[in-house]
């Protein structure tokens, strides 16, 4: 046990002595969360709305007021005529405009149907669509309120009310926090473990450890432990950041989430060991990690593209990527607040992968030694 402790201490020293390693391990998660959170944000926040209509009409005033009270929308001004809209967009003074027809109030009360037009700045189509659906939601709720008020019974509203469960604000952080978590844990565990073992292979110091009485399996474990602890720190820092900075809450059980993370970390460590066995230089190891792990994780984890809209063959391919399953679990537990039962399938797949990879990698490491 003392032999084992000595080699664990050594691994920690390697990590803390190397500024690049520390930088990757400690700063990268924070940078990624901040970067994805603020720079790559697709969410609508504080959209500026201009309107065009008759302010003496009390229904127009009520609708405008309602838009202004919405958390994500803000009225920035009134236009005299619809043709001014283009000027507003060009000078970037508004993101969308709402035009009320003449006799808006009268039509609304008498028939429940009134002319209203939403014009959005399509130069940013994603944002435009999102703002449009917010506005539609606000206006249709106004219409249905009037229906109740007038006749005492609810008039059939033909406009579907779109409501996003779990993520009412369409916050992109709900999507990328699980993704970044998967990416970081995998990077720390697979890449850094692989590189640290291959580095010793390159310098020949691995040989020194192997001729010592410390058993090969324990050498491997002593290499893994520091990265296991590092990933625990990263896991905690991502959770804290996403809770306090991104306001993404942990809705489900923190224990379940941590357990899933642990299984994923073991899978990644095993992958790292496997990569270290097949690669002879640090460069090869990095390349395999980059092309074989990081890129597929970015693509298939749903950080950038939703898996569901991929061709079927790619969806099958995405099934063999451990990160995909972990990210699904995180989404379910963290965002939807699901329990054990709902993630049982994903968790078993992940655990299966962990056991398989661990067996294969330890076996191949041992054969390599002989």
């Amino acid at each position: 046990m003392k032999e084992f402790a000595a080699s664990v201490v050594k691994e920690f020293r390697h990590i803390f002595r190397d500024k690049r390693t520390i930088l990757i391990a400690m700063v990268m998660p924070v940078v990624q969360i901040i970067l994805f959170g603020f720079a790559v944000s697709t969410e609508v926040n504080d959209a500026r709305i201009a309107f065009c209509g008759d302010l003496s009409d009390s229904e127009v005033r009520k609708t405008v007021d309602r838009i202004d009270r919405n958390r994500y929308l803000r009225i920035v001004g009134r236009l005299d005529k619809p043709s001014d809209i283009e000027e507003m967009f060009r000078t970037n003074k508004a993101d969308a405009a709402v035009c009320f027809a003449n006799d808006y109030g009268k039509d609304l009360i008498s028939s429940g149907k009134a002319g209203i037009r939403i014009i959005c700045d399509g130069s940013d189509p994603n944002t435009a669509q999102m703002i449009a659906s917010y506005l539609k939601g606000v206006i249709s709720s106004e219409q249905s309120d009037i229906g109740i008020m007038i006749s005492g019974e609810r008039k059939v509203s033909m406009t579907p009310v779109v409501q996003l469960m779990y993520n009412p604000a369409m916050k992109s952080s709900y999507n990328f926090v699980p993704g970044v978590m998967g990416l970081i844990l995998m990077l720390i565990c697979s890449m850094m473990t692989a590189v640290s073992i291959v580095r010793e292979k390159e310098t020949g110091t691995l040989e020194l450890l192997l001729v010592s009485p410390v058993k090969p399996l324990w050498i491997i474990i002593s290499k893994m432990i520091p990265y296991l602890l590092l990933s625990a720190v990263n896991f905690a820092s991502i959770l804290l950041l996403s809770h306090f900075v991104m306001e993404v809450p942990v809705n489900g059980s923190l224990f379940l989430l941590s357990a899933a993370a642990l299984v994923f970390v073991v899978t990644s460590l095993a992958l790292g060991l496997l990569i270290s066995v097949i690669s002879s230089s640090q460069r090869t190891a990095l390349l395999i990690c980059g092309m074989g792990l990081t890129m597929p994780t970015m693509i298939f984890s749903g950080i950038i593209f939703p898996c569901e809209s991929m061709p079927e063959i790619l969806q099958w391919f995405s099934d063999i990527i451990p990160a995909k399953w972990f990210i699904i679990i995180v989404k379910k537990v963290m965002i939807q607040g699901d329990g054990m039962v709902s993630v049982l399938k994903e968790l078993s797949i992940l655990a299966g992968m962990a056991i398989l990879l661990l067996t294969v990698s330890i076996k191949s490491f041992r054969t390599r030694l002989q």
């Binding site: 080699s7 201490v9 050594k10 040989e207 010592s212």
Partner: protein, 246 residues
């Protein structure tokens, strides 16, 4: 014979169809400096890995330090020291941390490690360097330190795998002085080398060709046997018969 620390009988190691070590047998006597020569690819690294407990023979057997090479690899590892041609210290650890690490993985107690550290640094006159990174030391110092660290657990045999690769002749000479001192204390030295002048320093030398031991004798014995003026000629005559390419 009394005092054999290594006894190898009919040792063979095959990798698939390729026979790296082909039925070799030899003894190494206690306290001698045994030179293990051979061209690249002659099988000496494979044989040495088996002696160090890193690899198992395909057939044959033997003992190192009294322990069976087939079944008691862990015990062998505890009783041998090893230093390789490649850099044997961790450059990003300080001199003292390197000593601590190897003391630790060989199971020494903290107090022992502290005493050994002081004794070692005093002997190497490196007390003022103890907190420097090992990577920053001159190559000659690194080697002396690596050699002393390989002896930290007081092994009966020390394996040196081309220990003086890439060093100037003066440093090499001083390194061999350390080897002599060690052998005088009764530690058996098993050394591989490419430098034939170093082979002259050994008590006995074996030359491997194509996985077999082609010759084994004292340097002077070999020279008269092959009518050669120096070990370089001896090696060229013997290794020249090799059928196997590198």
């Amino acid at each position: 014979m009394e005092g054999n620390v290594i006894e190898i009988r009919n040792l063979t190691k095959k990798f698939g169809d390729f026979t790296a070590v082909d039925n070799i047998s030899f003894d190494v006597w206690k306290g001698e400096i045994f030179g293990f020569l051979g061209a690249n690819g002659a099988g000496k690294t494979t044989a040495m890995r088996i002696l160090c407990g890193l690899s198992r023979p395909t057939s044959g057997g033997g003992t190192v330090s009294g322990y069976d090479i087939n079944t008691e690899q862990e015990k062998i590892k505890r009783h041998i020291g090893y230093m390789s041609q490649k850099f044997s210290l961790y450059p990003d650890l300080t001199v003292r941390e390197n000593i601590r690490l190897f003391g630790g993985i060989y199971g020494l107690r903290d107090r022992e490690i502290r005493e050994k550290t002081d004794a070692m640094l005093g002997m190497l006159e490196m007390m003022s360097e103890k907190d420097k990174f090992a990577g920053a030391l001159p190559l000659g110092w690194k080697q002396k330190l690596a050699f002393s660290i390989a002896l930290i657990h007081e092994p009966e045999i020390i394996f040196l795998d081309e220990p003086t690769g890439g060093v100037d002749p003066e440093t090499r000479r001083r390194f061999w002085e350390m080897i002599y001192d060690t052998a005088e204390k009764g530690v058996t030295v098993f050394v591989t080398t490419h430098y034939m002048d170093e082979a002259e320093y050994c008590d006995r030398v074996s030359v491997m060709v194509d996985g077999k031991i082609a010759a084994m004798n004292s340097p002077s014995g070999l020279k008269s046997e092959y009518h050669a003026g120096n070990m370089d000629e001896v090696f060229r005559i013997i290794a020249g018969r090799a059928a196997r390419e590198e």
